[in-house]
Amino acid sequence: MQQITLKGRVIVEGRCKAEALVSTKPISFLGGVDPNNGKIIMKNHDLYGKCVKDKVLCFPHGHGSTVGSYVLYSLARKHLGPKAIINQTADPVVVVGAIIADVPMIDRIDIKQIKTGDTVEVDAHNGLVKVLKNVES
């Protein structure tokens, strides 16, 4: 196992360890994620068809309507939400969503260092993201 630790800025405190789901594209929660099953429904998105449930969701930043914040809340209430959110640059829609949904969130992280399938330990009290990589892969 190889391990790297990235340091970012705390947006919402919390801790978790889960599998990473990484996108190179921005995500709009309104119209981009199905609030009934947590799947990415935006066509032409690199995560199209993937489910955000229980993942450490990593993407550059959010975009789109502020209603997206409520979608994140709704997902979390139905236990369909991500375990944590890691952004390159936090934007107001995702920040407000993470606060009301109480999802740990860190930004200012170089998400290119994280690959889908990596196990990630998020310490969103200290802004630390520990990426555990399987060297064979």
Partner: protein
């Protein structure tokens, strides 16, 4: 960010979950934009009201907030919902009506005024220099540019948080240094009717990014035309304010030239069809002022709306009550004056409306996607010519 003792107590949850979550929203957004403190606001305006655009997700959060005793501390108005109470609501399924009413009920519990309008400034004009926390991009641009009140472009949830705390974070448009014009747009010989002002907004919004333009155009322009310009600027751009016919202090400002052909092309792009048989002619995006209602009544002058054509004028309940005799004339001509609703977030598809003619550039821009409708974009006089017999 500096917080007072009282603000810290709210942040730590001593005033309950609703206040805590709202304070966290304000503080974290403030930190994101390098605010150093919170400042009081004189009013808030909350968007995100139509069940059609919200869906089911937000209702859960709004109910949780209302049940946890979230209460607005300052006067807070609400954006339009997805139907009016008299005309459209009767044509809609019960399920839709109930879900919409439930959303409104949660806002009511939190002490928000159910004004259901995108033009809260016609109900009460904010004082120049006052700080606001308004969502609804067209109202934000109007407040900053025409009324000289100071507000950021809040999102639905952050405006609600500001309403409940009575404050907002001190950044962006709340700071003098961020309200200076930095690009000059000369359109003195170009603009005539309100539709062209709207088209200019659509055109500029795409190229200005977050710059603040000072627009040099014709003199003695009505607030209605500036309302159309601002609504359109916010539709395609990040623009939060513009100056109109004010002198620039610095000479070296960047200049943008807009040619007649740019404007013409934009006007044309806002129509998706040349079909003259339209299902709906719609005036009132943003909601009509008393003056606009008067003008429409005047122009209709005893004529009748063609059969097979719907003619809608959208406004607030407040303005409708103030303009009763003109409303009556519009009704007698076969038009509908609808309140509480916004056509682009209403259920036009359910009514079988496939073509919408409007003088609003914002509506013309959104209707193809939000209403799945073809659009015809034209000034008021031409809209009325199409609507009326003879």
């Amino acid at each position: 960010m500096y917080l007072t003792k009282e603000e810290e107590r709210i942040y730590d949850g001593e005033h309950g979950w609703a206040n805590q979550i709202c304070m966290r929203i304000l503080v974290r957004l403030g930190e994101l934009f390098n605010a150093t403190k919170l400042i009081p606001v004189s009013s808030a305006h909350v968007a995100g009201v139509s069940y059609k655009t919200l869906g089911d997700a937000p209702a859960e959060f709004l109910r949780a907030l209302a049940n946890a005793n979230g209460k607005a501390k300052v006067k807070t108005t609400l954006n339009p919902q997805s139907f009016d109470q008299e005309y459209l609501s009767r044509k809609l399924p019960k399920d839709i009506r109930e879900k919409q009413s439930n959303i409104i009920e949660q806002f009511r519990k939190m002490g928000l005024t159910t004004s259901l309008t995108c033009t809260p400034y016609y109900l009460e004009r904010p004082k120049p220099g006052s700080h606001l926390a308004w969502a609804e991009s067209s109202a934000v641009v109007y407040a900053n540019s025409v009324l000289n009140a100071w507000t950021n472009r809040e999102g639905g949830p952050s405006a609600l948080a500001a309403a409940i705390i009575g404050k907002t974070a001190d950044y962006g448009m709340h700071r003098t240094e961020n309200r200076q014009p930095n690009v000059l747009v000369d359109v003195r010989n170009l603009l005539q009717n309100e539709a062209e002002f709207g088209a200019l907004g659509i055109y500029l919004g795409k190229i200005l990014e977050d710059k603040i333009p000072t627009i040099q155009g014709p003199n003695n322009v009505s607030e209605t035309k500036l309302k159309q310009l601002g609504a359109a600027l916010a539709t395609t751009g990040m623009v939060n304010m513009f100056y109109y016919n004010t002198q620039l202090e610095r000479e070296e400002t960047e200049k943008i030239s807009v040619e007649a052909k740019d404007l013409k092309r934009t006007v044309e792009s806002l129509s998706t069809t040349e079909d003259v048989k339209v299902d709906l002619i719609f005036i009132g995006c943003p909601h009509c002022s008393l003056n606009e209602i008067k003008q429409i009544a005047w122009l209709m002058d005893g004529k009748k709306v063609r059969s097979g054509t719907r003619f809608w004028v959208c406004t607030s309940r407040y303005v409708k009550e103030k303009s009763e005799k003109y409303v009556k004339r519009i009704k007698n001509s076969g038009g509908h004056v609808l309140t509480d609703m916004c056509t682009i977030v209403s259920w036009t598809e359910i009514l079988g409306i496939k073509t919408i003619m409007t003088n609003s550039a914002k509506t013309a821009y959104y209707a193809p996607t939000l209403n799945k409708a073809e659009t015809v974009f034209a000034p008021l006089k031409q809209c009325l010519k199409t609507a009326l017999e003879g």
